[in-house]
Amino acid sequence: MMGCAVARSRFSITRLPGFGLIAILTFVMLYLPIVILVAFSFNEGISQSRWEGFSLQWYQAAFNNSQVRDVSLRSLWLAVTAASFATILATLAALGTTRVGRFPGQTMIYALINQPLMVPEIVTGIALLIFVAAIKVQTGYTGMGYLVAAHTAFCIPFAYLPIRARLETLDHALEAAAADLYASPIQAFRYITLPLMVPGILAGFMLGFVISLDTVVITEFVKSAGQDTLPTYMLGQLRRSVTPEMNAIATLFLALSLMIVTAFFFITRTRGR
Protein backbone atom coordinates (compact mmCIF):
# COMPACT_ATOMS: atom_id res chain seq x y z
CA MET A 1 0.00 0.00 0.00
CA MET A 2 2.76 2.43 1.00
CA GLY A 3 4.80 1.81 -2.15
CA CYS A 4 1.69 2.33 -4.22
CA ALA A 5 0.94 5.68 -2.58
CA VAL A 6 4.50 6.89 -3.16
CA ALA A 7 4.43 5.82 -6.80
CA ARG A 8 1.15 7.61 -7.40
CA SER A 9 2.03 10.80 -5.53
CA ARG A 10 5.32 11.39 -7.34
CA PHE A 11 5.53 11.23 -11.10
CA SER A 12 8.71 9.50 -12.18
CA ILE A 13 9.71 9.43 -15.84
CA THR A 14 11.78 6.32 -15.25
CA ARG A 15 8.54 4.36 -14.86
CA LEU A 16 7.27 5.13 -18.35
CA PRO A 17 7.27 2.02 -20.60
CA GLY A 18 10.24 2.01 -22.94
CA PHE A 19 12.22 4.51 -20.86
CA GLY A 20 15.28 2.28 -20.64
CA LEU A 21 15.21 1.39 -24.32
CA ILE A 22 14.92 5.02 -25.45
CA ALA A 23 17.72 6.05 -23.12
CA ILE A 24 20.01 3.34 -24.44
CA LEU A 25 19.18 4.13 -28.08
CA THR A 26 19.87 7.82 -27.49
CA PHE A 27 23.29 7.14 -26.02
CA VAL A 28 24.06 4.66 -28.79
CA MET A 29 23.20 7.23 -31.46
CA LEU A 30 25.21 9.91 -29.65
CA TYR A 31 28.36 7.95 -29.00
CA LEU A 32 28.57 4.79 -31.11
CA PRO A 33 29.51 6.56 -34.38
CA ILE A 34 32.22 8.47 -32.56
CA VAL A 35 33.51 5.35 -30.86
CA ILE A 36 33.69 3.60 -34.26
CA LEU A 37 35.45 6.59 -35.81
CA VAL A 38 38.03 6.63 -33.04
CA ALA A 39 38.46 2.85 -33.13
CA PHE A 40 39.16 2.73 -36.87
CA SER A 41 41.71 5.51 -36.59
CA PHE A 42 43.88 2.80 -35.01
CA ASN A 43 43.13 0.22 -37.72
CA GLU A 44 46.02 -1.52 -39.39
CA GLY A 45 44.32 -1.62 -42.81
CA ILE A 46 42.42 0.97 -44.85
CA SER A 47 38.95 -0.46 -44.24
CA GLN A 48 36.37 1.47 -42.19
CA SER A 49 34.38 -1.67 -41.46
CA ARG A 50 36.81 -4.55 -40.97
CA TRP A 51 39.28 -4.57 -38.06
CA GLU A 52 42.73 -5.66 -39.20
CA GLY A 53 44.82 -5.02 -36.10
CA PHE A 54 46.18 -2.10 -34.06
CA SER A 55 48.51 0.45 -35.61
CA LEU A 56 49.43 4.12 -35.35
CA GLN A 57 50.25 4.41 -39.02
CA TRP A 58 47.35 6.78 -39.83
CA TYR A 59 48.48 9.15 -37.10
CA GLN A 60 51.97 8.98 -38.55
CA ALA A 61 50.52 9.72 -41.99
CA ALA A 62 48.55 12.68 -40.65
CA PHE A 63 51.61 14.14 -38.88
CA ASN A 64 53.70 13.74 -42.02
CA ASN A 65 51.03 15.34 -44.21
CA SER A 66 52.19 18.95 -44.60
CA GLN A 67 48.72 20.05 -45.75
CA VAL A 68 47.18 18.75 -42.55
CA ARG A 69 49.84 20.55 -40.54
CA ASP A 70 49.16 23.80 -42.40
CA VAL A 71 45.38 23.76 -42.05
CA SER A 72 45.64 22.70 -38.38
CA LEU A 73 47.96 25.59 -37.59
CA ARG A 74 45.70 27.97 -39.52
CA SER A 75 42.66 26.72 -37.60
CA LEU A 76 44.40 27.16 -34.26
CA TRP A 77 45.72 30.60 -35.17
CA LEU A 78 42.29 31.69 -36.41
CA ALA A 79 40.52 30.30 -33.33
CA VAL A 80 42.92 32.01 -30.92
CA THR A 81 42.78 35.32 -32.78
CA ALA A 82 39.02 35.38 -33.30
CA ALA A 83 38.29 34.16 -29.75
CA SER A 84 40.61 36.84 -28.33
CA PHE A 85 38.94 39.66 -30.25
CA ALA A 86 35.49 38.25 -29.51
CA THR A 87 36.30 37.95 -25.79
CA ILE A 88 37.49 41.55 -25.59
CA LEU A 89 34.40 42.83 -27.41
CA ALA A 90 32.08 40.55 -25.43
CA THR A 91 33.64 41.73 -22.15
CA LEU A 92 33.02 45.34 -23.11
CA ALA A 93 29.48 44.50 -24.24
CA ALA A 94 28.78 42.64 -21.00
CA LEU A 95 30.08 45.58 -18.94
CA GLY A 96 27.95 47.93 -21.03
CA THR A 97 24.79 45.90 -20.58
CA THR A 98 25.13 45.10 -16.85
CA ARG A 99 27.19 47.86 -15.24
CA VAL A 100 25.70 51.16 -16.39
CA GLY A 101 22.13 50.90 -15.08
CA ARG A 102 19.10 50.54 -17.29
CA PHE A 103 18.86 52.46 -20.53
CA PRO A 104 16.28 52.49 -23.32
CA GLY A 105 16.83 49.81 -25.94
CA GLN A 106 18.74 47.53 -23.58
CA THR A 107 16.74 44.42 -24.48
CA MET A 108 17.09 45.32 -28.15
CA ILE A 109 20.87 45.50 -27.84
CA TYR A 110 20.90 42.20 -25.98
CA ALA A 111 19.01 40.61 -28.88
CA LEU A 112 21.27 42.23 -31.48
CA ILE A 113 24.42 40.94 -29.79
CA ASN A 114 22.97 37.44 -29.88
CA GLN A 115 22.23 37.55 -33.64
CA PRO A 116 24.41 34.51 -34.51
CA LEU A 117 22.37 32.42 -32.08
CA MET A 118 19.13 33.30 -33.89
CA VAL A 119 19.97 33.67 -37.59
CA PRO A 120 20.52 30.33 -39.39
CA GLU A 121 24.23 29.87 -40.03
CA ILE A 122 23.70 29.24 -43.74
CA VAL A 123 21.95 32.61 -44.07
CA THR A 124 24.83 34.36 -42.32
CA GLY A 125 27.22 32.44 -44.56
CA ILE A 126 25.54 33.49 -47.79
CA ALA A 127 25.23 37.08 -46.60
CA LEU A 128 28.92 37.11 -45.72
CA LEU A 129 29.81 35.56 -49.08
CA ILE A 130 28.06 38.34 -50.98
CA PHE A 131 29.34 41.07 -48.68
CA VAL A 132 32.95 39.86 -48.63
CA ALA A 133 32.98 39.27 -52.41
CA ALA A 134 31.96 42.91 -52.96
CA ILE A 135 34.76 44.17 -50.69
CA LYS A 136 37.29 41.86 -52.33
CA VAL A 137 36.40 43.29 -55.72
CA GLN A 138 36.61 46.87 -54.43
CA THR A 139 39.84 46.57 -52.47
CA GLY A 140 41.63 43.61 -54.00
CA TYR A 141 42.53 42.44 -50.48
CA THR A 142 42.18 38.67 -50.08
CA GLY A 143 44.03 38.04 -46.81
CA MET A 144 42.95 36.33 -43.59
CA GLY A 145 41.26 39.53 -42.36
CA TYR A 146 37.85 38.42 -43.64
CA LEU A 147 37.99 35.11 -41.78
CA VAL A 148 39.19 36.80 -38.60
CA ALA A 149 36.39 39.38 -38.77
CA ALA A 150 33.70 36.83 -39.62
CA HIS A 151 34.80 34.37 -36.91
CA THR A 152 35.09 37.18 -34.35
CA ALA A 153 31.56 38.37 -35.03
CA PHE A 154 30.27 34.81 -34.97
CA CYS A 155 31.98 34.02 -31.63
CA ILE A 156 30.85 37.15 -29.77
CA PRO A 157 27.54 35.80 -28.38
CA PHE A 158 29.20 32.58 -27.24
CA ALA A 159 31.84 34.59 -25.39
CA TYR A 160 29.27 37.13 -24.20
CA LEU A 161 26.91 34.70 -22.47
CA PRO A 162 29.24 33.34 -19.74
CA ILE A 163 30.82 36.76 -19.14
CA ARG A 164 27.43 38.39 -18.73
CA ALA A 165 26.23 35.55 -16.51
CA ARG A 166 29.27 36.07 -14.29
CA LEU A 167 28.79 39.84 -14.12
CA GLU A 168 25.14 39.47 -13.22
CA THR A 169 26.00 37.47 -10.12
CA LEU A 170 28.52 40.13 -9.04
CA ASP A 171 27.12 42.26 -6.22
CA HIS A 172 27.15 45.97 -7.12
CA ALA A 173 27.87 46.64 -3.46
CA LEU A 174 31.41 45.34 -4.02
CA GLU A 175 32.17 48.15 -6.43
CA ALA A 176 30.44 50.61 -4.11
CA ALA A 177 32.60 49.31 -1.26
CA ALA A 178 35.74 49.81 -3.35
CA ALA A 179 34.73 53.39 -4.14
CA ASP A 180 33.95 53.93 -0.47
CA LEU A 181 37.49 52.75 0.33
CA TYR A 182 39.00 55.44 -1.90
CA ALA A 183 39.38 53.42 -5.11
CA SER A 184 38.97 55.53 -8.25
CA PRO A 185 36.59 54.04 -10.84
CA ILE A 186 39.59 52.62 -12.73
CA GLN A 187 41.10 51.13 -9.56
CA ALA A 188 37.73 49.63 -8.61
CA PHE A 189 37.60 47.95 -12.02
CA ARG A 190 41.24 46.84 -11.89
CA TYR A 191 41.17 45.41 -8.35
CA ILE A 192 37.57 44.26 -7.91
CA THR A 193 35.46 43.89 -11.07
CA LEU A 194 38.12 42.51 -13.41
CA PRO A 195 39.58 39.82 -11.10
CA LEU A 196 36.07 38.66 -10.26
CA MET A 197 35.19 38.53 -13.97
CA VAL A 198 38.17 36.31 -14.85
CA PRO A 199 36.33 32.95 -14.65
CA GLY A 200 33.62 34.32 -16.95
CA ILE A 201 36.20 35.75 -19.35
CA LEU A 202 38.14 32.46 -19.48
CA ALA A 203 34.93 30.53 -20.06
CA GLY A 204 33.91 32.98 -22.78
CA PHE A 205 37.28 32.66 -24.49
CA MET A 206 37.11 28.87 -24.45
CA LEU A 207 33.60 28.74 -25.84
CA GLY A 208 34.56 31.22 -28.57
CA PHE A 209 37.67 29.17 -29.33
CA VAL A 210 35.74 25.92 -29.70
CA ILE A 211 33.06 27.57 -31.82
CA SER A 212 35.63 29.10 -34.17
CA LEU A 213 37.54 25.82 -34.39
CA ASP A 214 34.32 24.01 -35.21
CA THR A 215 32.53 26.21 -37.72
CA VAL A 216 32.45 24.94 -41.29
CA VAL A 217 29.72 27.01 -42.90
CA ILE A 218 31.08 30.49 -42.14
CA THR A 219 34.62 29.55 -43.19
CA GLU A 220 33.46 27.80 -46.34
CA PHE A 221 31.66 30.92 -47.58
CA VAL A 222 34.25 33.50 -46.56
CA LYS A 223 37.63 31.88 -47.27
CA SER A 224 39.75 32.72 -50.27
CA ALA A 225 41.89 30.16 -52.09
CA GLY A 226 44.44 28.49 -49.83
CA GLN A 227 42.66 29.49 -46.60
CA ASP A 228 41.24 26.12 -45.65
CA THR A 229 40.80 25.44 -41.96
CA LEU A 230 40.89 21.94 -40.55
CA PRO A 231 37.11 21.38 -40.83
CA THR A 232 36.83 22.70 -44.41
CA TYR A 233 39.93 20.72 -45.41
CA MET A 234 38.46 17.55 -43.96
CA LEU A 235 35.19 18.20 -45.76
CA GLY A 236 37.08 18.65 -49.02
CA GLN A 237 39.05 15.43 -48.50
CA LEU A 238 35.94 13.44 -47.71
CA ARG A 239 34.49 14.30 -51.08
CA ARG A 240 37.36 12.37 -52.63
CA SER A 241 38.24 9.43 -50.42
CA VAL A 242 37.79 8.38 -46.85
CA THR A 243 40.98 6.93 -45.43
CA PRO A 244 41.56 6.26 -41.74
CA GLU A 245 43.92 9.24 -41.86
CA MET A 246 40.73 11.34 -41.58
CA ASN A 247 39.74 9.26 -38.55
CA ALA A 248 43.08 10.02 -36.96
CA ILE A 249 42.76 13.76 -37.60
CA ALA A 250 39.17 13.76 -36.38
CA THR A 251 40.20 11.88 -33.24
CA LEU A 252 42.91 14.44 -32.45
CA PHE A 253 40.44 17.23 -33.11
CA LEU A 254 37.95 15.55 -30.79
CA ALA A 255 40.59 15.20 -28.07
CA LEU A 256 41.43 18.91 -28.27
CA SER A 257 37.75 19.91 -28.05
CA LEU A 258 37.18 17.57 -25.11
CA MET A 259 40.16 19.02 -23.29
CA ILE A 260 38.93 22.56 -23.72
CA VAL A 261 35.35 21.75 -22.77
CA THR A 262 36.58 19.89 -19.68
CA ALA A 263 38.74 22.86 -18.71
CA PHE A 264 35.73 25.12 -19.27
CA PHE A 265 33.65 22.93 -17.00
CA PHE A 266 36.21 23.02 -14.19
CA ILE A 267 36.76 26.75 -14.47
CA THR A 268 33.07 27.59 -14.30
CA ARG A 269 32.52 25.11 -11.50
CA THR A 270 35.37 25.82 -9.13
CA ARG A 271 36.31 29.44 -9.78
CA GLY A 272 32.76 30.42 -10.63
CA ARG A 273 31.75 30.30 -6.99
Binding site: A176, A179, D180, L181, A183
Partner: protein, 363 residues
Protein backbone atom coordinates in the same frame (compact mmCIF):
# COMPACT_ATOMS: atom_id res chain seq x y z
CA UNK B 1 31.89 70.20 20.27
CA UNK B 2 32.45 70.73 16.56
CA UNK B 3 29.98 69.75 13.88
CA UNK B 4 31.06 66.76 11.82
CA UNK B 5 28.07 66.53 9.50
CA UNK B 6 25.67 69.34 8.74
CA UNK B 7 22.63 68.76 6.56
CA UNK B 8 20.34 71.64 5.66
CA UNK B 9 17.11 71.58 3.70
CA UNK B 10 17.90 68.25 2.10
CA UNK B 11 15.36 66.61 -0.23
CA UNK B 12 15.73 63.53 -2.34
CA UNK B 13 13.31 62.30 -4.96
CA UNK B 14 13.64 59.45 -7.41
CA UNK B 15 12.08 59.77 -10.85
CA UNK B 16 10.67 62.80 -12.61
CA UNK B 17 7.49 64.88 -12.53
CA UNK B 18 4.26 63.27 -11.38
CA UNK B 19 5.92 59.86 -11.02
CA UNK B 20 8.60 61.26 -8.69
CA UNK B 21 8.97 59.47 -5.39
CA UNK B 22 10.03 61.64 -2.48
CA UNK B 23 12.38 59.45 -0.46
CA UNK B 24 13.60 62.25 1.84
CA UNK B 25 11.86 65.54 2.71
CA UNK B 26 13.26 68.64 4.38
CA UNK B 27 15.99 66.96 6.38
CA UNK B 28 17.87 69.26 8.77
CA UNK B 29 20.45 67.57 10.87
CA UNK B 30 23.76 68.19 12.57
CA UNK B 31 25.92 65.42 13.93
CA UNK B 32 28.70 66.30 16.34
CA UNK B 33 32.24 64.97 16.17
CA UNK B 34 32.64 61.75 18.14
CA UNK B 35 28.90 61.23 18.47
CA UNK B 36 27.10 57.86 18.23
CA UNK B 37 24.18 58.99 16.11
CA UNK B 38 21.34 56.66 15.10
CA UNK B 39 18.81 56.83 12.30
CA UNK B 40 15.82 54.81 13.46
CA UNK B 41 12.71 54.05 11.47
CA UNK B 42 10.68 51.31 9.81
CA UNK B 43 11.85 49.67 6.61
CA UNK B 44 11.46 51.93 3.59
CA UNK B 45 11.50 55.23 5.49
CA UNK B 46 14.65 56.47 3.76
CA UNK B 47 17.47 55.56 6.19
CA UNK B 48 19.67 53.90 3.59
CA UNK B 49 19.04 56.71 1.13
CA UNK B 50 20.21 59.29 3.68
CA UNK B 51 23.28 57.19 4.45
CA UNK B 52 24.06 56.81 0.74
CA UNK B 53 23.84 60.58 0.32
CA UNK B 54 26.26 61.12 3.21
CA UNK B 55 28.63 58.50 1.75
CA UNK B 56 28.43 60.06 -1.71
CA UNK B 57 26.67 57.27 -3.62
CA UNK B 58 23.68 59.52 -4.27
CA UNK B 59 23.39 63.27 -4.73
CA UNK B 60 20.64 65.15 -2.89
CA UNK B 61 17.93 66.63 -5.13
CA UNK B 62 18.11 69.87 -3.17
CA UNK B 63 19.88 70.97 -0.02
CA UNK B 64 23.41 71.14 1.26
CA UNK B 65 25.59 68.55 2.95
CA UNK B 66 28.70 69.72 4.77
CA UNK B 67 31.31 67.41 6.21
CA UNK B 68 33.65 69.03 8.71
CA UNK B 69 32.43 72.42 7.50
CA UNK B 70 33.11 71.69 3.82
CA UNK B 71 30.38 71.49 1.17
CA UNK B 72 30.84 68.05 -0.43
CA UNK B 73 28.30 68.40 -3.25
CA UNK B 74 29.73 66.67 -6.32
CA UNK B 75 32.45 64.80 -4.44
CA UNK B 76 32.41 61.05 -5.11
CA UNK B 77 32.57 58.46 -2.31
CA UNK B 78 36.30 57.98 -2.96
CA UNK B 79 36.89 61.65 -2.13
CA UNK B 80 35.09 61.73 1.23
CA UNK B 81 36.73 60.94 4.59
CA UNK B 82 33.88 58.56 5.32
CA UNK B 83 33.71 54.77 5.30
CA UNK B 84 30.70 52.49 5.26
CA UNK B 85 29.90 49.14 6.81
CA UNK B 86 27.46 47.75 4.25
CA UNK B 87 24.31 45.88 5.20
CA UNK B 88 25.52 42.90 3.14
CA UNK B 89 29.15 43.45 4.37
CA UNK B 90 30.31 43.52 0.69
CA UNK B 91 33.64 41.87 1.54
CA UNK B 92 35.82 41.27 -1.53
CA UNK B 93 35.46 37.51 -2.05
CA UNK B 94 38.80 37.08 -3.85
CA UNK B 95 40.86 38.77 -1.14
CA UNK B 96 41.97 37.45 2.23
CA UNK B 97 40.75 39.02 5.44
CA UNK B 98 44.02 40.96 5.72
CA UNK B 99 43.83 42.15 2.10
CA UNK B 100 40.25 43.28 2.64
CA UNK B 101 41.24 45.30 5.69
CA UNK B 102 44.24 46.81 3.92
CA UNK B 103 42.37 47.75 0.73
CA UNK B 104 41.46 51.32 1.72
CA UNK B 105 45.02 52.12 2.80
CA UNK B 106 46.39 50.63 -0.42
CA UNK B 107 44.06 52.84 -2.47
CA UNK B 108 45.22 55.84 -0.44
CA UNK B 109 48.78 54.98 -1.55
CA UNK B 110 50.11 54.28 1.93
CA UNK B 111 53.49 52.52 2.15
CA UNK B 112 53.46 48.73 2.54
CA UNK B 113 54.98 48.82 6.03
CA UNK B 114 52.27 51.17 7.29
CA UNK B 115 49.50 49.06 5.72
CA UNK B 116 50.91 45.96 7.39
CA UNK B 117 51.09 47.62 10.79
CA UNK B 118 47.57 49.07 10.57
CA UNK B 119 46.09 45.78 9.36
CA UNK B 120 47.69 43.99 12.31
CA UNK B 121 46.31 46.62 14.67
CA UNK B 122 42.81 46.35 13.16
CA UNK B 123 42.88 42.54 13.31
CA UNK B 124 43.65 42.86 16.99
CA UNK B 125 40.97 45.50 17.52
CA UNK B 126 38.27 43.19 16.18
CA UNK B 127 39.93 40.06 17.61
CA UNK B 128 40.47 38.36 14.26
CA UNK B 129 44.28 37.86 14.35
CA UNK B 130 43.97 34.11 13.73
CA UNK B 131 41.89 34.60 10.56
CA UNK B 132 44.13 37.01 8.63
CA UNK B 133 44.78 34.68 5.70
CA UNK B 134 41.29 33.22 5.35
CA UNK B 135 38.95 34.14 2.53
CA UNK B 136 35.61 35.75 3.48
CA UNK B 137 33.84 32.54 2.43
CA UNK B 138 35.87 30.65 5.02
CA UNK B 139 34.70 32.59 8.09
CA UNK B 140 31.36 32.84 9.89
CA UNK B 141 28.78 35.61 9.51
CA UNK B 142 29.76 37.23 12.80
CA UNK B 143 33.41 37.17 11.79
CA UNK B 144 32.59 38.67 8.39
CA UNK B 145 30.82 41.44 10.27
CA UNK B 146 34.01 42.15 12.26
CA UNK B 147 36.13 42.17 9.11
CA UNK B 148 33.74 44.61 7.43
CA UNK B 149 34.07 46.81 10.49
CA UNK B 150 37.86 46.58 10.56
CA UNK B 151 38.04 47.29 6.82
CA UNK B 152 35.98 50.46 7.25
CA UNK B 153 37.95 51.59 10.30
CA UNK B 154 41.45 50.93 8.90
CA UNK B 155 41.76 54.19 6.88
CA UNK B 156 40.79 56.06 10.08
CA UNK B 157 37.82 57.88 8.56
CA UNK B 158 36.31 60.90 10.31
CA UNK B 159 32.90 59.27 10.05
CA UNK B 160 31.80 55.64 9.98
CA UNK B 161 28.41 54.83 8.43
CA UNK B 162 26.79 51.57 9.50
CA UNK B 163 23.71 50.35 7.62
CA UNK B 164 21.83 47.88 9.82
CA UNK B 165 25.12 46.10 10.47
CA UNK B 166 23.71 43.71 13.04
CA UNK B 167 20.42 42.74 11.43
CA UNK B 168 21.79 39.50 9.93
CA UNK B 169 23.14 38.20 13.23
CA UNK B 170 21.30 36.03 15.73
CA UNK B 171 20.19 37.54 19.01
CA UNK B 172 23.13 36.51 21.18
CA UNK B 173 25.76 37.57 18.64
CA UNK B 174 23.88 40.81 18.08
CA UNK B 175 24.04 41.70 21.78
CA UNK B 176 27.76 40.90 21.77
CA UNK B 177 28.40 43.06 18.72
CA UNK B 178 26.36 45.92 20.18
CA UNK B 179 28.78 46.28 23.09
CA UNK B 180 31.70 45.62 20.76
CA UNK B 181 30.60 48.49 18.50
CA UNK B 182 30.13 50.78 21.46
CA UNK B 183 33.64 49.89 22.70
CA UNK B 184 35.17 50.52 19.25
CA UNK B 185 33.44 53.85 18.98
CA UNK B 186 34.69 54.98 22.38
CA UNK B 187 38.23 53.71 21.70
CA UNK B 188 38.57 55.30 18.26
CA UNK B 189 36.59 58.49 18.88
CA UNK B 190 35.24 58.25 15.32
CA UNK B 191 31.76 59.67 14.63
CA UNK B 192 29.32 56.80 14.08
CA UNK B 193 26.14 57.17 12.03
CA UNK B 194 24.24 54.00 12.74
CA UNK B 195 21.11 52.82 10.94
CA UNK B 196 18.65 50.42 12.50
CA UNK B 197 14.97 49.55 12.54
CA UNK B 198 15.35 48.01 15.99
CA UNK B 199 14.24 50.54 18.62
CA UNK B 200 15.82 48.67 21.50
CA UNK B 201 19.19 48.66 19.73
CA UNK B 202 18.83 52.39 19.08
CA UNK B 203 17.94 53.16 22.70
CA UNK B 204 20.82 51.18 24.21
CA UNK B 205 23.62 52.35 21.90
CA UNK B 206 23.01 55.93 20.82
CA UNK B 207 24.01 59.35 22.07
CA UNK B 208 21.18 60.77 19.96
CA UNK B 209 18.46 59.25 17.81
CA UNK B 210 16.62 60.61 14.79
CA UNK B 211 13.28 58.84 14.41
CA UNK B 212 12.27 58.74 10.75
CA UNK B 213 9.06 57.93 8.96
CA UNK B 214 8.18 58.26 5.27
CA UNK B 215 11.26 60.33 4.45
CA UNK B 216 10.95 62.77 7.34
CA UNK B 217 12.66 63.15 10.69
CA UNK B 218 9.86 63.16 13.25
CA UNK B 219 11.93 63.57 16.38
CA UNK B 220 15.58 64.06 17.19
CA UNK B 221 17.06 63.75 20.64
CA UNK B 222 18.77 61.59 23.27
CA UNK B 223 17.23 58.15 23.91
CA UNK B 224 15.65 59.18 27.25
CA UNK B 225 13.88 62.12 25.62
CA UNK B 226 12.64 60.03 22.69
CA UNK B 227 11.32 57.40 25.08
CA UNK B 228 9.87 59.65 27.77
CA UNK B 229 8.62 62.52 25.63
CA UNK B 230 7.62 61.23 22.18
CA UNK B 231 6.35 64.12 20.05
CA UNK B 232 3.56 62.27 18.30
CA UNK B 233 1.62 59.09 18.07
CA UNK B 234 4.01 57.47 15.54
CA UNK B 235 7.09 57.93 17.73
CA UNK B 236 5.26 56.82 20.87
CA UNK B 237 4.04 53.72 19.09
CA UNK B 238 7.34 52.89 17.37
CA UNK B 239 9.54 53.26 20.46
CA UNK B 240 8.65 50.81 23.22
CA UNK B 241 5.15 49.75 24.28
CA UNK B 242 2.56 52.39 24.99
CA UNK B 243 -1.04 52.66 26.16
CA UNK B 244 -3.09 55.10 24.13
CA UNK B 245 -6.13 56.50 25.94
CA UNK B 246 -8.87 58.81 24.65
CA UNK B 247 -9.56 61.23 27.50
CA UNK B 248 -11.46 64.51 27.92
CA UNK B 249 -9.42 67.67 28.49
CA UNK B 250 -10.75 69.56 31.54
CA UNK B 251 -8.15 72.24 32.26
CA UNK B 252 -5.14 73.41 30.32
CA UNK B 253 -2.21 75.54 31.36
CA UNK B 254 -0.32 75.96 28.11
CA UNK B 255 2.44 78.12 29.60
CA UNK B 256 3.18 75.58 32.35
CA UNK B 257 2.90 72.72 29.83
CA UNK B 258 0.27 71.06 31.97
CA UNK B 259 -3.29 69.87 31.56
CA UNK B 260 -5.92 68.13 33.63
CA UNK B 261 -7.64 65.15 32.05
CA UNK B 262 -10.74 63.26 33.11
CA UNK B 263 -9.97 59.56 33.56
CA UNK B 264 -12.36 56.67 33.01
CA UNK B 265 -14.40 56.45 36.19
CA UNK B 266 -14.51 60.20 36.61
CA UNK B 267 -11.36 61.03 38.60
CA UNK B 268 -9.08 63.75 37.27
CA UNK B 269 -5.34 63.57 36.78
CA UNK B 270 -2.68 66.00 35.67
CA UNK B 271 -0.80 65.33 32.45
CA UNK B 272 2.04 66.94 30.55
CA UNK B 273 0.97 69.03 27.57
CA UNK B 274 3.62 69.68 24.88
CA UNK B 275 3.90 73.34 23.86
CA UNK B 276 3.31 72.46 20.21
CA UNK B 277 -0.35 71.53 20.66
CA UNK B 278 -3.34 73.28 22.16
CA UNK B 279 -6.59 71.32 21.94
CA UNK B 280 -9.78 73.07 23.11
CA UNK B 281 -10.93 72.44 26.70
CA UNK B 282 -13.73 69.87 26.75
CA UNK B 283 -12.47 67.97 23.68
CA UNK B 284 -11.24 64.38 23.56
CA UNK B 285 -7.44 64.12 23.36
CA UNK B 286 -5.01 61.23 22.98
CA UNK B 287 -2.91 60.60 26.07
CA UNK B 288 -0.16 58.03 26.48
CA UNK B 289 1.30 56.17 29.41
CA UNK B 290 4.01 53.48 29.32
CA UNK B 291 2.99 50.05 30.64
CA UNK B 292 5.70 50.09 33.32
CA UNK B 293 4.75 53.55 34.61
CA UNK B 294 1.44 52.46 36.14
CA UNK B 295 1.15 50.46 39.35
CA UNK B 296 -1.59 48.10 40.50
CA UNK B 297 -3.43 48.93 43.75
CA UNK B 298 -6.17 47.08 45.67
CA UNK B 299 -9.59 47.43 43.97
CA UNK B 300 -11.36 50.67 44.85
CA UNK B 301 -8.12 52.58 45.40
CA UNK B 302 -5.95 54.42 42.84
CA UNK B 303 -6.86 56.69 39.94
CA UNK B 304 -8.69 54.21 37.72
CA UNK B 305 -10.49 50.88 38.19
CA UNK B 306 -9.89 47.92 35.92
CA UNK B 307 -10.56 44.23 35.51
CA UNK B 308 -7.95 41.71 34.32
CA UNK B 309 -8.84 40.30 30.88
CA UNK B 310 -5.74 38.17 30.30
CA UNK B 311 -2.08 37.85 31.20
CA UNK B 312 0.99 37.15 29.04
CA UNK B 313 4.09 35.75 30.69
CA UNK B 314 7.46 37.20 29.49
CA UNK B 315 9.93 35.65 31.93
CA UNK B 316 11.14 38.70 33.84
CA UNK B 317 7.68 40.25 33.82
CA UNK B 318 4.05 39.67 32.95
CA UNK B 319 1.84 41.87 30.78
CA UNK B 320 -1.63 42.21 32.25
CA UNK B 321 -4.25 43.11 29.66
CA UNK B 322 -6.85 45.18 31.51
CA UNK B 323 -10.24 46.67 30.70
CA UNK B 324 -10.88 50.10 32.19
CA UNK B 325 -14.29 51.34 33.41
CA UNK B 326 -15.20 52.77 30.02
CA UNK B 327 -14.03 49.58 28.20
CA UNK B 328 -10.75 51.07 26.90
CA UNK B 329 -7.88 48.58 26.96
CA UNK B 330 -4.79 49.07 29.10
CA UNK B 331 -1.58 47.02 29.34
CA UNK B 332 0.20 46.93 32.68
CA UNK B 333 3.73 45.55 33.01
CA UNK B 334 4.29 43.83 36.29
CA UNK B 335 7.65 42.41 37.39
CA UNK B 336 7.41 38.72 38.23
CA UNK B 337 8.11 37.75 41.84
CA UNK B 338 7.69 34.24 43.22
CA UNK B 339 5.79 35.51 46.28
CA UNK B 340 3.24 37.47 44.22
CA UNK B 341 1.46 35.34 41.63
CA UNK B 342 -0.09 37.35 38.82
CA UNK B 343 -3.83 38.01 39.23
CA UNK B 344 -6.24 35.64 37.46
CA UNK B 345 -8.53 36.91 34.66
CA UNK B 346 -11.61 38.54 36.18
CA UNK B 347 -9.69 40.00 39.15
CA UNK B 348 -10.59 43.62 39.90
CA UNK B 349 -7.81 46.07 40.71
CA UNK B 350 -7.03 49.76 40.82
CA UNK B 351 -4.34 51.68 38.93
CA UNK B 352 -2.15 54.50 40.06
CA UNK B 353 0.67 56.36 38.34
CA UNK B 354 3.31 58.92 39.11
CA UNK B 355 2.68 62.55 38.16
CA UNK B 356 4.19 63.22 34.74
CA UNK B 357 3.67 59.67 33.50
CA UNK B 358 0.57 60.70 31.58
CA UNK B 359 1.21 62.75 28.46
CA UNK B 360 -1.05 64.42 25.90
CA UNK B 361 -0.01 63.73 22.32
CA UNK B 362 -0.60 65.27 18.96
CA UNK B 363 -2.87 62.91 17.00
Amino acid sequence: MSQEIEITGLNKSFGQGAAAFHALRAIDLTIATGEFFTLLGPSGCGKTTLLRIIAGFEEPSTGVLRINGKDVTGLGPDKRPINTVFQSYALFPHMSVAQNIGFGLKMLGKPKSEIKATVAEMLQLVRMEAMADRLPSEISGGQQQRVALARALAPRPRVLLLDEPLSALDLKLRKEMQSELKRLQTETGITFVFVTHDQEEALTMSDRIAVMSAGEILQLGPPQEIYNAPVNRFVADFIGDTNFLRLRLRVKAVAAGEAVLELPGGKQASARLPASISPPVGSLVTAVIRPEQAEPTPAGQGEMQAVVASATFFGTDTHLHLLLDDAQGFVLRRQNRPDQPSPAPGTKLGLTFAPGALRVLED
